[in-house]
Symmetry: C2
Subunit: 314 residues, 2 copies
């Protein structure tokens, strides 16, 4: 199959956005953002055998490649607008491509995002997604925005994707559908991110584990934090895993949950209680930003110092 036939067949659905002047098919896409907004842009790569198991369902892969980028947009409070796909494939398998593009477009359509450009090349399976979203000026939530005394919140549940990975690799012998689903099909918290505009001080998506990603916020703003074990939202399967193994670090260091971690001053508690229920995701207050450096966990009355490290790529 020729590259152009491949693009035409699998990656040339008409875009739906009025601010897309030109999509796939020329040297560049042409985009027309509004003058009173800024653009949030991010790029992420998934490599076979590193970020996903080589036999992963291609539909789930197409979904996840985009979900990871949408999650970054969500952490900036941005509304998704355009995606660019660089897809490197060992071979042009129509069945694989049909499923991959369906997974990708299903999620893109749900978030009114146009796939505005791409490049398909031959080589080891690698998926890079660049995503651009729109944010009203001065409404983005930077990592450096956290202030001492801020409450720390997380959305959804922690440690599910990490448990799902242990199940798929055979490290854990039993299965839990929700944990595996979270790993393969994380839900980017786009509506939550947009709702937090102007309310949250800082926001990050949890891709490397809570300790690492909250650690990025602390590093960026030069502050510390204490979080409470009893406040962490854990799925029944994760509680069961911890009871069985004693490995309570999983919800803190397991990656790939793609929930949001955000901080807001206590004065915003009522605003959050009123606005967040429309976002269709639970949220929990788990701790406090503090002047004192370092990340601390209070667990059963004991204070444990947590390393702020995540997954090492090299």
């Amino acid at each position: 199959m020729h590259e152009f036939d491949l693009i035409r067949r699998f990656f040339s659905r008409p875009g739906g956005r009025e601010d897309t002047i030109l999509g796939v098919g020329d040297d560049c896409a042409l985009l027309d953002p509004a003058g009173n907004e800024v653009l949030a842009a991010t790029i992420d790569t998934l490599v076979a055998g590193v970020h996903f198991l080589p036999d992963t369902d291609p539909g789930k892969l197409g979904y996840k490649a985009l979900a990871v980028s949408l999650s970054d947009l969500a952490a900036m409070g941005a509304e998704p607008a355009w995606g660019f796909l660089a897809l490197t494939l060992p071979e042009a398998d129509p069945v694989w491509l049909e499923s991959f593009s369906r997974g990708l477009y299903d999620l893109a359509t749900r978030h009114r995002m146009d796939l505005a450009g791409g490049d398909t090349t031959r080589g080891p399976l690698t998926i890079t997604l660049q995503a651009i979203g729109r944010v009203p000026k001065a409404c983005s939530m930077l990592r450096s925005g956290a202030r001492s005394g801020d409450d720390i919140y997380v959305s959804g549940l922690l440690g599910q994707a990490g448990l799902g990975l242990k199940m798929l690799t055979g490290e854990v012998a039993w299965r839990d559908r929700a944990a595996i689903d979270r790993l393969l099909s994380p839900e980017p918290r786009v509506a939550l991110g947009m709702t937090l505009r102007g309310v949250a001080h800082a926001c990050i998506d949890i891709s490397d584990g809570l300790a690492a990603d909250l650690g990025h916020i602390l590093e960026s703003c030069g502050l510390g934090a204490t979080i409470r074990w009893e406040a962490l939202p854990l799925a029944p399967a994760v509680r069961h895993y911890i009871e069985q193994t004693g490995d309570w670090r999983l919800p803190l260091y397991g990656g790939d949950d793609y929930e949001l971690c955000f901080t807001a001053p206590p004065s915003q508690r009522r605003v959050l209680e009123q606005s967040l229920p429309s976002c269709d995701v639970s949220w929990h207050r788990i701790g406090t930003i503090e002047e004192r450096q370092g990340l601390r966990l209070v667990k059963g009355g004991e204070v444990i110092s947590l390393p702020q490290a995540g997954y090492r790529h090299f």
Copy 2:
């Protein structure tokens, strides 16, 4: 080396653009384009062993990864603004990274482009560059813009990169520095593209060979063309190669030259003669857009029908 240390060390030079609100280091970059412009955006991947020989100098690779994207921006008449790099590496070799990032930043700085975001992952060497440029509204040059009767032009020389590749792979036993340089370090015709705004009807960059890329213009606008062999700009080494081998197809089907092919009505000839000399690249009128479908070459009085096909990736 940790991913974050790697980014900090090699890919965190401060940006110089006033419209970059936030560069590398948060979930997203934040960009602030002007309201009276549109954005041209493109993504391109280079894969080791497919797009470049695995032992290619990393500095030249960093340069070329960006040059390829800048060439796409040039073909839209866009001014380069922001780049996003997705770099997949088998290992984090500081010597390789130092050279790669220097090659990339040298070209980026020359074109006042900020590297605003990126992702480094472990895996088979693959380089994806997404680039965003700015164009005044209604000034972009689409492939579909060509009109019957338009003159066809190319910049620079044709077939040099194709000859350089034959030299590096050993298919041609002699060496020509300029041909190899063209392959490894193509010059994106950014200034030319910006000068052609409002003058040229259609424009494309020659990445797959003149016949294929002019073919894209013809396909997009539903027209045909005749080009004249004697008008094609050929370097002495390419002429020498053709005399030796009889392979006159090289300048038509050799890829990677990254010159611009553009069309403009004869009424614009004087405007072009006045404005193009400031662009520091030669240009040649090589043929005419015609109602009659197909791509024809007039060579020594004979009319040859040319297939409009380029490199097949799959």
